[in-house]
Amino acid sequence: MNRFANDAYLNTRVAVKATELFRPGDLARHAQLSLQELGQKFHLGSILEEPVSDYVKSRAVEQALIQLLLSELQILIRPMGVDERGLVLAWARKYALFNLKTLLRGKIRNLDAQEIRDNLYDLPPEVRLANEELFRTESAVELLRCLESGPLSLLARQAREIYEQRQEAFALEAAIDQRYYAELARRVNRLEGHPAQRQMRMLVGSLVDRADILWLIRFRFAYALSASETFYQLVPSPHLMHRQRLLELVALDDQTKVIAALPDPLRELLTDAGNLMETQRRMAQYSNGIATDVLRRGTSGVARALAYLILREENLRAVFSLIQGRLLNLPEPYVELAVGLRPAICVHRWQDAA
């Protein structure tokens, strides 16, 4: 098939798949369902009926939802070209990086091998790391050395050097996250001249914008890092938070000034956010809004496919939060807070609400 035929095929596939996404009000309705009803609705009944602990059920549900998402991804990437497929897989590689972080934390804290294994996600070969080989390593440094011989060599090398110097998991994980978004931005820039590039810049850019704003506030004001240290942790976005803007923002010494200096629509969105959790919730709304826009109005099949996957992931994450809330018997307001149905207010007000 040629590119036009592939795009038409992909657009059709995405259009069919998009009917499975939540419509406005669906999440609020699902939040009212009991655990059994949720299990039935999302075909997770057999897992929830297993005579095992709530923790094991919760892990199994999470694994099943991730598998569902990644199986859809496997179908959608089939007709894509090399670069587009690479970009979508780079987005999905976050799950492999979750596994990498789990392995690193386990190795740093000398956890039991079985305990580490129980917390790893089972991933399809397209996004999987060589888990078994990594699993055999006996320290974080050895693990990173092992990774240096694979596709994550640059990330691994820098992460190892940082870890050897600082011996702290935070710097290591920050480097991994930073590299993940930098790789996404790099792949979008490689689509130069591709019909999907404009939409991809918006879509992937919104994800990078979201990470940048949260990191900027956290590193600069919560961890009190210097402007230069903060800037180095950020990723120039192909959308709003580009390099020059990041340089200007990190130089500001007050969070209010940073919010005021943000471009629209981010400034309007975050002006009265109040705390980091609410900022996170609103930034999620922002990137989901862009994904919805690309899915509805976009012309590129690849961009629409990625937009679908981003929204689907959000939906499935909400389903997982609802189920976990039920399994842990959490009060309704907490669950609604977790799925973004309520604004994040400070702790004593949550307790009042509960």
């Binding site: 091998a113 079985q114 055999r136 006996e138 050895e142 050395r145 640059l154 090398r157 820098q158 050097e161 940082i162 110097q165 600082r166 710097a171 480097a175 930098a182 210097s226 402007a227 230069s228 240290e229 800037f231 180095y232 942790q233 120039p236 390099r243 990041l246 340089l247 990190v250 130089a251």
Partner: protein, 631 residues
């Protein structure tokens, strides 16, 4: 050889403490395929205490990693004995220490590599600076107002680092880039922001390139200093190599012991999923070839001191898909078995197609590539490269042999038709006959494939599918009627009433069967039945015609050689010889590859897709695996 080896399901009940002994005895027989399915007996549960397995996994992983640094000798299997948990734990602990030691050597090697790389970068940097009219000596050491950093940084980080340093009041100049590494000079005011700067530089992977003392010396003196440093690194590398060699010698005996212990412990670990236990009692389930069962029972009786019970039974109908199939074990058929395995493993009860595949492959390959000389070249090459080809060299020998045989039938040696008399005739002398024979061969091949399909389905008790299913009895009746009718049409000019009744009746039966087994609205049913019936007719016709390629390639082979010899005839003596040589090489390589692909295509698509479900399980018995000495 065509029918599968009968298998028995075996259940061994024994004391739990005897499990390592039983697994070792079973591994020695090499006839026990573990069955991990959940037992019906609810009192028996999978083993909970996995310390043996955990120790083994960690020890094996450590030994494999050690193998990447030093040579690990082969296991000493002169004495087959049970390995207890204590011994395994002890070996694992020793391997942990040995790995730490190897890891230190590995890290030391990496550090030396890194120093060598940095030295190379330094040499490159200095060569670059040499062209500048700058006193580099003044960049070294602390300055009152300005800080200078000269070093390297990964190319990807330069731009971000530049921005970050700008925020700290420093400037970054990139003056060179090679192999993904950027050489930079950083300049900024001395003072208050050193900690901040250090943190950013470290996050960016900045490595300072030290400026040597005496930069104001002559270039020769600087070169001598760098040479001295390189010599130091080389000396350290030699020391490290010696240390690794000494480590290899010192660890040798313990490594043999570790490899032996792990080889002996492996069967128990492999058997683990097939073990169920309750209290002191344990049960092991698996599959054993019926004829190997007495030897297995005797081996267990000889090695066990405590009582045990062994129950065996034939596989039930339900568990047939779970029963492993024993592959054909023959040196001659081994390469063909590998090709069959590429498609799949026969289901237990089905015909193993390896022998049939071998015969039909050789017949088709030989007839399409029939030439004494070309076949001899293939056979000789296979023999010369037998070490590299492994078991696959037999494939080359047999394929070459088949070409030689057909070469004698066609009277062809490297394309020359006059060197030897043809036992039969050259394919080009009567192409129509060749095409007819190819069609006949195709009809025979497809008939045989249908017969095997029917046999396989009856063998797995799928009676309805054997009669009405694709390539079943009804399909075969239709096909034979069609062939008979076609032959009558060619010879007598009439299709024939009986033949018409056979084909028509079979098609009607097929359509009727489809009609009653289809769940769809009436309009869709009519459409589907018509399409499926038509597809049967077209499918058999096109599949038979597909075999015309056997004759086509046979004729093509001759025609290509005629072209080569005609071109050679147009040249002088040297040109003639060269043309014949290179023409033959061209034909052997090109046609050899094409013919192999075409034969494989006929085998896989016209043969295997009909009668070979290929979803079986391969018999993988528990065995003592011996590893190669070094990775």
């Amino acid at each position: 050889m065509l029918t599968p080896q009968p298998m028995k399901h075996v259940r061994i009940l024994a004391l739990r403490e005897d499990l390592p002994l039983i697994s070792l005895a079973l591994a020695e027989t090499e006839s026990f395929h573990p069955d991990p399915r959940q037992t019906e007996d609810e009192k028996l549960a999978p083993l909970v205490d996995c310390s043996y397995q955990k120790e083994y996994q960690q020890a094996r992983s450590r030994l494999d990693k050690i193998r990447q640094v030093i040579e690990v000798p082969e296991a000493d299997m002169s004495e087959i004995r049970v390995v207890g948990l204590d011994e395994l734990t002890e070996v694992n602990a020793w391997l942990g220490e040995a790995w730490e030691s190897c890891l230190r050597h590995q890290e030391a090697g990496r550090e030396l590599d890194e120093r060598t790389r940095l030295l190379e970068e330094q040499e490159t940097a200095l060569a670059n600076f040499a062209e500048l009219n700058v006193d580099l000596g003044s960049l070294r050491g602390e300055k009152r107002f300005l800080d200078f950093y000269v070093g390297v940084v990964p190319r990807e980080n330069v731009r971000r680092l530049e921005g970050a340093l700008g925020l700290a009041g420093h400037l970054l100049f990139k003056y060179m880039e090679r192999e993904g590494i950027a050489h930079v000079v950083i300049v900024g005011p001395t003072g208050t922001r050193e900690a901040e700067l250090g943190s950013v530089l470290s996050a960016a992977g900045f490595q300072a390139v030290p400026l040597p003392h005496g930069l104001d010396d002559s270039p020769g003196a600087i070169q001598a200093e760098l040479k001295q440093r390189r010599a130091t690194i080389e000396a350290e590398q030699a020391e490290l190599d010696q240390a690794v060699a000494a480590c290899e010698v010192a660890f040798r005996d313990e490594l043999v012991r570790a490899e032996t212990v792990l080889t002996l412990a492996e069967p128990f670990v492999t058997l683990d999923p097939a073990i169920r236990s309750s209290g002191n009692l344990a049960a092991i389930a698996g599959w054993v070839p019926a004829r190997a069962l007495p030897a297995l029972e005797k081996r267990l009786a000889d090695s066990m001191t405590h009582p045990f019970s062994l129950e065996s039974r034939r596989p039930t109908e339900d568990e047939r898909p779970q029963v492993p199939s024993v592959p054909v074990r023959s040196r001659l058929l081994a390469p063909f078995a590998m090709l069959v395995k590429q498609y799949g493993v026969p289901r237990y009860g089905e015909v193993d197609p390896t022998l049939l595949f071998t015969i039909t492959f050789l017949v088709m390959f030989g007839s399409m590539f029939g030439d004494v000389g070309h076949g001899a070249v293939l056979a000789v090459l296979a023999w010369v490269f037998r070490r590299k080809l492994g078991r696959f060299y037999v494939f080359g020998l047999l394929a070459g042999g088949s070409s030689i045989l057909f070469g004698f039938l066609f009277g062809s040696v490297f394309g020359y038709k006059t060197l030897i008399p043809a036992i039969w005739m050259s394919p080009l002398y009567n192409p129509v006959l060749m095409l007819q024979l190819a069609l006949g061969w195709g009809a025979l091949f497809l008939t045989l494939a249908c017969v095997l399909t029917i046999y396989n389905r009856f063998a797995v008790r799928a009676h309805m599918a054997a009669v009405f299913g694709p390539h079943g009895v009804v399909n075969l009746t239709f096909y034979l009627g069609l062939i008979w009718g076609a032959v009558s049409l060619v010879t007598t000019g009439q299709f024939g009433l009986v033949q018409a009744l056979l084909t028509g009746g079979a098609l009607a039966a097929l359509a009727g069967y489809n009609w009653f087994h289809m769940q769809a609205p009436i309009g869709e049913k009519i459409l589907m039945v018509l399409i499926e019936t038509l597809e049967t007719v077209i499918g058999y016709l096109s599949n038979t015609l597909s075999f015309l390629r056997v004759a086509a390639f046979s004729i093509n082979h001759v025609a290509l050689m005629i072209a080569v010899l005609t071109l050679a005839g147009m040249l002088g003596t040297v040109g003639h010889v060269l043309m014949v040589i290179f023409g033959n090489i061209f034909v052997i390589v090109l046609e050899g590859v094409i013919v192999t692909i075409q034969v494989m295509r006929l085998q896989y698509f016209e043969g295997f897709s009909r009668y070979f479900s290929a979803d079986g399980r391969e018999f993988a018995p528990l065995r003592l695996r011996r590893r190669a000495p070094a990775a």
